[in-house]
């Protein structure tokens, strides 16, 4: 117990960082689900490719000895590139694999998404290999800044940065959805695709935007995870995807703020669970939460219960 209390502040910090990242991934699932009510199986892979993009940017700069640049600028560059690539990939996937199936039976859409996910994963495996790519983070952050001691808690510079970036992205998205015309159109489309179309909303465009934003946030999350844990491989999307989905379901899928809340709850639970269970079973925590929520409260923490129309 003593050891638990001793570790508690540290684990809370870890949990919040992890939670922010999960929240970013979960937003992608939730936004797509809100409009198309489909589970975007390929989201995890989009996330993984975002991570690789970030690694690639960092790697290039490292090779060119350009890391003397301001660390924040480098990280900003990585995040922006990753977001762009992931976002465009998300839009492409929607266009090729989902749009033709918008009126098809649900199982077909899901299988198509599964196909995209398998393709992307093995595409990276083929051209990139099964090697784990590591981020030369050490060269990025000056040693004096690497840790910040605050009482018993040790903040790493990266953790602080990750939390800040997560909050900025989430705040930006909230503002956009609340108070821009595009955001209004997105909310309308999420309520009712057909009615939105009748009111003059270009639904196809809105869906594209949603895929772009959701995927871009996934890409950003991936870079942040890369900076935290310093590595990415072709299989990274699988676990991250499942966790993001768990967070989205936990918060109430389709609900943006629910996804954020779910992310933090999941991150904290995982961080705390590590103190009780062997690390090999760490992922099981997320799965158990997922299964329990789906069976006991499938509409999540903040979602609404919607009975089937008869």
């Amino acid at each position: 117990m003593d050891m638990f209390l001793e570790q508690l502040p540290q684990q809370l910090v870890n949990g919040i960082t992890l939670g922010g990242v999960y929240a970013l991934i979960a937003i992608g699932y939730s936004m797509v689900y809100g409009i198309l009510s489909m589970l975007n199986f390929a989201h995890g892979e989009v996330y993984m490719i975002g991570g690789f993009t970030g690694w690639w940017v960092l790697h290039l700069l490292y090779r060119e000895n350009a890391l003397a640049m301001n660390a924040v600028a480098v990280i900003a560059l990585m995040v922006v590139f990753a977001m762009a690539v992931s976002g465009i990939l998300g839009v492409l996937i929607e266009r090729v694999a989902y749009r033709p199936l918008r009126h098809a039976p649900r199982i077909n859409l899901l299988l198509s998404a599964l196909g995209v996910s398998i393709f992307l994963q093995n595409f990276v495996l083929t051209f990139q290999g099964a090697k784990v790519r590591s981020f030369p983070v050490a060269a990025l952050v000056p040693e004096s800044l690497r840790v910040i001691q605050l009482g018993p808690v040790v903040f790493s510079f990266m953790r602080v940065l990750v939390i800040v970036v997560c909050f900025c992205l989430m705040a930006g998205l909230s503002i956009m959805i609340k108070s821009t015309k595009l955001g209004k159109a997105m909310r309308a489309t999420a309520q009712d695709v057909e009615t939105a179309a009748f009111m003059g909303v270009d639904v196809d465009r809105i869906i594209m935007v949603v895929f772009f934003i959701g995927s871009a946030l996934g890409g950003a999350a991936s870079v942040l995870v890369g900076l935290l844990f310093t590595q990415v491989d072709y299989y990274a999307g699988f676990a991250a995807g499942l966790k993001g989905f768990t967070a989205a379901v936990l918060g109430g899928i389709g609900n943006l703020y629910g996804a954020m809340l779910g992310g933090f709850v999941l991150g904290l639970s995982e961080a705390l669970a590590v103190t009780f269970f062997p690390a090999a079973y760490k992922d099981v925590v997320a799965f158990v939460i997922l299964i329990a929520v789906l069976i006991l409260r499938p509409w999540g923490l903040m979602g609404e219960k919607s009975p089937e129309k008869v």
Partner: protein, 619 residues
Amino acid sequence: MNTTALSRDSVRHRNLMWLIAGCVVLAAAPHVMPNAYWMRIFCISGVYVMLALGLNVVAGFAGLLDLAYVAFFGVGGYTFALLSSEQFGIHLPFLLVLPAAALVSMVCGFALGATSVRLKGDYLAIVTLAFAQIFKLLLLNLDRPVNITGGVNGIYNFDMIRIFGLKIFTPAAYAYLIWGAALLAIVGSVRIKSSRYGRGWQAIREDELAAAATGVNTAWMKLTAFAGGAMVAGAAGAIFASFQDSVFPNNFDFQQLVMVYCMVILGGMGNVPGVVAGAVLLTILPEFLREYGAYRMMSYGVILVMLMVLRPKGLLSSIPFLQKSRTRPDKETTGRLQASTDLYYRKQRREKSTSTYQKGDKPLLVLEGVSRRFGGITAISGLDLTLFEREILSVIGPNGAGKTTLFNLISGIIPPSQGRILLNGADITGHRPDQVVRAGVARTFQNLRLFNGMSVRDNTRVGRFCRTRSGPLSILFNLPRHRKEERETMERTREILHLFGARLTGYRFDQDAGSLSYANRRRVEIARAMATGAKILLLDEPAAGMNPQETDEITEFILTLRDRYGYTILLIEHKLGLVRTISDRVVVLDSGGKITEGHYRDVAKNPQVIEAYLGTRHQ
């Protein structure tokens, strides 16, 4: 009648011919394989045929996206490994281990189904995916503290299997064993597909709610689909383990699952010969692409997307002999085509008869103070309603009056918040939809919920589900009881469809319900409700979307249902002409409460009713 009996015989003949031809080819194949390499592929393709057929039960027939399927394959494999190796020093005979593996898998399938049976589509997929991940984690990590699964290294060196003293160790012997099992799986699949179980599963796949309202116990049927698929996978796993003489966690990972899904989809989900062909094709084809091994999984992804976008019914389903044979209109036995309307009226004139039944005085269905609230809204409040024996009672009222909610309450789709519902004096409050149907109340839906991908005949046959009892065993072994029930189901279906004349008979038997005209779909819904054997029918706007002539026809028909066949009918209808013609009594609902009830004449003059429909006049 004769022609169909004949065609049924010819179908059986054709199936038998296929079976014999298949056996001959399979028996000869091991002796003509050019080398050990191809022999191995031949054996593996048999394992995949079994696997694909098992998945076809869950995903193809029942439409459940089960991503934990490959775990059952693993459970079977590891069960075999633990029960006939040095791992624990247990050496049981194969004839005991094989059923044990299948059984353990089946129990796991049941357990998985039980936790996730309430989940739909995407949710089910993700939960089963999580279960599959947990399974793999367990396989990888259960070598400590006690070595059970052998971790990454797996388990190897199994006992040689003996079947009745026959040692199985040559590749040819394995080929016979594997393909023998695969053949059993094929025959079993064909049989179960055309049984009450197969139709029940398909109905759930097409429309779960409608399936429940037609008397299919959906929760149980989903469980049996999970368990059935798992059982086949478990048996395949045991045979595979023995054939490979080792099991590793990697044998049962996500990639395997994707491959098996590709096989099922390529063949067309639910299409048994197609799935077999898909399995064989996708086992052999990659061998030719061996040099491009790295691209293999990538191409599976592309195949999945392309099939879903371009050919969602599977590539192989477009090959004619893999399709269901259908009666085509131009092949009618009469030799000429007639407008269905003419046939209908000619038949009606001939069969015009006096009524045998009239309204009785015995209360059949009684609602006592039934209320239903949705959050803050009260859709039905304190409603009392009595439906007498062989009565035609119409429920009318403006939109939002609670008419459809009333039907949903009676048919068990939503439970009442308060009050009791009695059928023949027995309390049926809170019963599941399928229990209500079995108790004798069937319904139709306002916005049409047919099983669109199934034929008119099969739609109606689903109605018989709750009146037949043969279980999986009597279906798989084609026992007399199952054959008798199938015969009766067919006869009853035919009788009911013939009541609708040429509208639903002849070539229409085999047409997909989704391809029918709107009015005909309404008729199929009524036929389906009648097939359940229920004597009380709840008809939700039976004449909606029908033209005046068709409305007259359906009015006449509903009257016939009571007068000649003794049905009791509760109906919702907006066409007051129909209501006036056939109702014994009329109940008027508004805002969830009953305004008045009585004969149409009196109800129509009631000032409150006029107000509810037309509003009040400004003075």
